[in-house]
């Protein structure tokens, strides 16, 4: 009899150890470095390349890569080539994100840090970059505090605040679909501030919050929350998730028939999520932060064509635009001011207007001086099962100006302190 016939015993301890290890597997991952050779001007991206926000993080990275290609073709920054160094923060571990930010700043000596889909990470990285005196553009973390109570002199943000998103949607939902709302909210900074935004609007309009469920990030089974929501009998069920959580929640909401009994809506919706949903689950009213199908806006077609080349023929999403606009913003201001000095560039960006070929929106798009928040357009509309072409899954009903829905700087809680 050969030796391999007999199993070595697997003890309970071993299975427990295995369980621990598999848990660790979900928070650790090999870091991604895309170095392009010699690095005169280094831009570091600390973003969510694995986990529930992997696709969103990767799309921001792709947008940034396209911008780097274009910048280099046009002579780089201060005549020097630009490279993008990318680090995976994972989707949920803020400690990893902070560690990667330190690495980019201290070891790689980047001039700019771009981050992050995850709001909690954006806040934490903002602290790190402010202390280090490095320019920081937040591409995709929406929580208000980034350009509100936790704002910094060196931190600018491309994507909208959660309050801008909820303000843009609230009136429509209240007037058209009813005054009793139920929230299903992801249990972290992004979800909390979105819910607070809607609650403030609800209070203003005299509506009622009939209930709310906080769901852990990465929830797979939403049934118990959906059961609670239907028991509360609201007019509107508001889903405040992003990424994979949004897909799982909507897919299951449709299977429970919630879309037949209540109006489904939310704040931010993304093409990535609508693409991942079966046609019958592409439902509800939402706000998009950028949309690829804008036939009358200059330069959009060229951007769509350029991303298609990098993205296996697929159209860009708002995430691509975030990465693209953030990277171009830095190159434009550095070339205009002829320096990489963070303080000079930060001062220069206050009130800075993006040129049409970077803004890719109908109205003036600029960084507000008081809180460093970009004031773009927002696209209010509804999801459609099938569009004019397969990727046209959102119908824009109305375009609003960011400056019209953003609370004034005095209400954001932002007081920028400049270093001596």
């Amino acid at each position: 009899m050969s030796e391999d016939i007999i199993n070595r015993p697997v003890g309970r301890r071993r299975v427990l150890q295995a369980g621990l290890a598999i848990g660790a597997m979900q928070v650790t991952s090999p870091f991604v470095v895309k170095a392009l050779g010699e690095v005169p001007v280094k831009i570091g991206m600390d973003n969510t390349f694995t986990g529930t926000y992997a696709e969103l993080g990767r799309n921001e990275q792709m947008g940034s890569e396209l911008a780097v290609q274009e910048i280099n073709k046009k002579g780089g920054i201060l005549g020097r080539p630009v490279v993008l160094l990318s680090e995976d923060s994972t989707s949920a571990d803020t400690g990893t994100a902070v560690q990667k930010a330190h690495k980019l700043i201290e070891r790689d000596k980047v001039s700019l840090v771009l981050d992050s889909v995850n709001s909690a990470m954006a806040l934490a990285i903002g602290e790190v970059t402010a202390q280090a005196g490095v320019m920081n553009i937040v591409t995709g973390g929406h929580t208000d505090a980034v350009t509100g109570t936790d704002c910094h002199w060196n931190v600018f943000r491309i994507c909208n605040t959660t309050r801008m998103e909820t303000n843009s949607m609230s009136k429509l939902l209240f007037d058209k679909f009813g005054k009793k709302w139920y929230f299903i909210t992801p249990d972290y900074a992004f979800g909390h501030t979105l819910q607070q935004g809607f609650e403030a609007s609800l209070k203003k309009f005299g509506g009622t919050e009939v209930g709310a469920s906080l769901t852990p990030l990465g929830t797979t089974d939403f049934s118990s929350y959906l059961i609670k929501a239907q028991a509360a009998n609201p007019d509107v069920i508001i889903f405040l998730h992003a990424g994979q959580d949004m897909i799982n929640a909507l897919k299951q909401a449709v299977q429970f028939g919630l879309d037949k009994r209540f109006h489904i809506a939310g704040a931010q919706q993304e093409l990535e999520a609508l693409n991942g949903l079966p046609p019958n689950a592409r439902i509800g009213n939402w706000v998009f932060e950028w949309y690829w199908n804008q036939p009358n806006v200059p330069h959009v077609k060229e951007f769509v064509a350029a991303i298609r080349k990098l993205n296996n023929g697929k159209v860009p999403t708002a995430r691509h635009w975030f990465g693209y606009a953030a990277t171009w913003t830095y190159a434009l201001i550095a070339n205009e001011k002829k320096t990489l000095d963070a303080r000079v560039l930060a001062k220069g960006l206050e009130g800075f207007t993006l040129p049409p070929e970077v803004a890719l929106m109908p109205d003036k798009v600029f960084f507000r001086a008081g809180d460093h928040q970009l004031m773009p357009n927002l696209y209010i509309g509804h999801a459609v099962a099938h569009g004019s072409v397969p990727e046209d899954l959102f119908h824009v009903d109305q375009v609003v100006k960011g400056i019209d829905v953003a609370p004034p700087v005095s209400e954001t809680g932002c007081h920028i302190k400049w270093p001596a």
């Binding site: 009899m1 050969s2 030796e3 391999d4 016939i5 007999i6 199993n7 070595r8 015993p9 697997v10 003890g11 309970r12 071993r14 299975v15 427990l16 295995a18 369980g19 290890a21 598999i22 848990g23 597997m25 979900q26 694995t50 986990g51 992997a54 696709e55 990767r58 249990d187 469920s213 906080l214 852990p216 990465g218 929830t219 797979t220 089974d221 049934s223 118990s224 929350y225 059961i227 609670k228 239907q230 028991a231 994979q244 897909i247 799982n248 897919k251 299951q252 299977q255 429970f256 028939g257 990535e272 999520a273 693409n275 991942g276 949903l277 079966p278 046609p279 019958n280 296996n312 697929k314």
Partner: protein, 288 residues
Amino acid sequence: MTQLILYNVFNGLIIGAFYALMALGLSLILNLSGVINFAHGGFLAIGAYFAFALIPFVGFWGALLIAPILTALLGGVIERILIRPLYGRDPLYGLLLTFGLAFIIEDGTRKIWGPQTLPFSVPEWMSTPLSANYFFLTGYRLFMVALVTVAVIVLFVVLNRTRLGMRIRAGTLDLETVSVLGVNVRILRSVNFGLGIYLAGLAGVLAAGMLGLQPTIGTDLIMPSFVAIIVGGLGSLPGTLVGGLLIGVASGVTSVFFPSASEAVIYIMMGLVLLVRPRGLFGEEGRF
């Protein structure tokens, strides 16, 4: 409130049945081969992606039938080439191998199908609730329970009433004696591994109908399956089944009172079981 709790108990049973399906596959492989299959979630994803690729050609039902079989065949090949040489060695070897395999499978599916979530559709009639009074009864969840029930019954009939099943059960208890009695243990292990992976593939097709199909679809589901095995008791397939159902119900009921703890509760439950009854609810004393 009572109604809400009752709904969540029933719904928890439904989700628990799904966890149990995955855990049974893990348990089968662990019991006979002594391999803690970290790549089980990866095989689940492969089953789901195979189904996605097959649906345009053979429809949902055809894919449901074929995808788990293809996954099992792939599992058999991997067992033959990679896992078989590690039998008889310290379980750490198998653990490390399947750990690496999980990453390879995840990146492999990402390479082939892309990182984006794919729109996996189920037949229209399943995407509706079946009763206005019993809200938790949706077509898809009822279908899941029915399928899991059939799969579990067939599995237990195979294990208890067929020669193959008897050999697997005997091998679980004393593989050396089974070998001495003339059973080809290598083939037995391969078939058993394939059977375990078949269950993972089946769970994958079911999961894709409920969740977004993307490369990490199995990663989020594998931890509850490990917990189900430990709560139910190592070495006991009925225990694994009960473990799965228990954690499903615990998670569902907790979400009524304290949603943030709905995932943590299954680990608290595992801790309690380990403290009070370290071999698990149905585990045999002294065996593990």
